[in-house]
Symmetry: C2
Subunit: 252 residues, 2 copies
Amino acid sequence: MKTKNTPSSPKALVARVAGSGNAVDSIARPLVTVDVAIFSIRDDVLSVLLVQRGQGPDEPFPLRWALPGGFVDVKKDATIEDCARRKLADKTGVTTPYMEQLGSWGSAGRDPRAWSVTNVYFALIASDEFCQIDERPPQQWFPVGEAIPRPLAFDHDQLLDAALRRLRDKVEYTVLPASLLPREFTLPELQHTFEIVLNRQLDKSAFRTRMLSAKVIEETGNFRIGPRRPALLYRLAEDATRKLPATFRRAD
Amino acid sequence: MKTKNTPSSPKALVARVAGSGNAVDSIARPLVTVDVAIFSIRDDVLSVLLVQRGQGPDEPFPLRWALPGGFVDVKKDATIEDCARRKLADKTGVTTPYMEQLGSWGSAGRDPRAWSVTNVYFALIASDEFCQIDERPPQQWFPVGEAIPRPLAFDHDQLLDAALRRLRDKVEYTVLPASLLPREFTLPELQHTFEIVLNRQLDKSAFRTRMLSAKVIEETGNFRIGPRRPALLYRLAEDATRKLPATFRRAD
DNA sequence: TGAATAGTGTCTTTCAGACAGTATTGG
DNA sequence: CCAATACTGTCTGAAAGACACTATTCA
C-alpha cells in the first residue's frame, strides 16, 4: 500500500511534512470531485443543466460543456453528498430536490491534470422551480438528445448517459417523475410527465389504478382550478420510494 | 474551489512543492480507497468474505472485521474498477466473477486518519470456486445475518447492508444468482440458489417458465448425471443482464 | 347545451402461481 | 416396479390494457 519511496527521497519527505506524519501521508492521493446531473422538464422536454468551462491557461477542456461539479472541499463538506447539495444549491438555488447517488468514476486518464475520481449524483427539480434559475452564461438547460453539445468535457458524455439510463430505468417501477413536478400535482399532470420521460403514451385508466393502488401518492383535498373540470391535487406519500406493484407491461 | 490558504502559508507551500505546481496541487485531497463486498454460497448459506484488521500503532479499528479493500494505487491501477479487481484477485484468486459498482461513501469522519472516500464494489463468486480460496486468518467467510461480527470497521456495517439490499433487490428482476453457481448449472440448482438468496420457496413451474421465456439462460446440450434422472445443463446467455419479464408476484 | 378535460366501469388478455400429472433415471 | 428427481400441462386468479362510459366545469 505504501509507495516504494524511501523516507529520504524528496517526494516522500515532502509528503510527510505536509500532513501529520502518519503512513497515509506517503500515499499519492487522486483528485476527488463531485458532479451532478440535474434534470428538469422545460417546455415539455426533459432537459439537463450544463455549464461551459472557462479557458484559463491550466483549464482542461476549455469552452467545453460539462455537468456542474467541482472538487470536494474537505473544510466545507462533511460528506460527498453535502458537497453535491452544495454544488446543486450554487447552480440552482434549490435545496430540497430529489437526489440520489449514481456512482463513482475514477481513472488515470479522465482528468488530464491527475488521477481523479468523481462521485456523480442525479437530481430532479420541479419544473416550477427552474424558472427561477439563472440561465445566463456559462450555465444553460439543454434538451436531452441531439441538442446535447457533445463531446462534453472529461468523461461527462458517459456520466450523462448513465444518468439518463438510471432515470429511464426507474420510471418503470417508481414514482420518480413526480419529483419533476411541483409539490402538488394532478394525476393527468403526473401521467403527462411519465409520458415525456418514457417517450410514449400511457392509458389513463391503467395509470390511475397503478399509482393509487401503490399508495405512492395521496390526495391533498385541494383542486387544480382551470378552464374545465377541476382536478384533484395529490402529493407524494411518505413512502414514495416504494416500488410500484409492477412494471408497465412491456410490448412484444 | 481553491483552499483559502495563501501561497505563503506553510501547508499550501508544501503542497505546491509536492506536485507539479498546478492549481490542483493546492487543494487538500481526501484519501481514496476501494472496498469489495464478495458474496458466495457456502454450505447452502449466503456468505460474505471479511478480513480482520491488524493492530499496529497507527492502525484504525484494530482487530475489527472489515470488507476487503485498500487504497487506490495511482501507479498500479488504471481505474477504480481495476483496483477493485486487484483486491478481489488478491483475496480470492478469482479474476472473472460478476462485479458491479455499489456506489461511493465519503465523509470527514468515516476514517479517523483523514477525510476519505471509498468506492464500493459488489462481487458474486461461484460456490465451486470459493473452495479453492484460502480461509486462513485474517480472512474468513461469514454467513450473512446474526453471524456477522458487528460492528465492522469504519462504516462497513452500512456498506455491507447496502450490498445485501442491492443483491436482494436484483434477485427480483435479474438472473444475478446464476453468478453464484459454476458456469454450467441445472434449472433446479438455479432455483435452489434463488431460494437461498430470497429466503423463500418458489414454484418450480413458474420459475422455469420465467427463466426460459426471458432467454437469460441457454441450454448447453449437456446433462448433469446424478443418482436419478439427469438434468439439462444451462449457461448464462449473452445478454444475461437483461431484466426478467416481471418480478416474482408479491404476497398481499 | 356543448366542448373539454377529469375520472370510472367493464371486458379482455396476459401471465404468475398452484398443483397434479408425466418422464427418466438407478437400484 | 419403486423411489426420487426432472420436467410439463392445465386451471385459476390477479392485474394491466383497451375503450367506452359518466362527471364536472366554463362559456
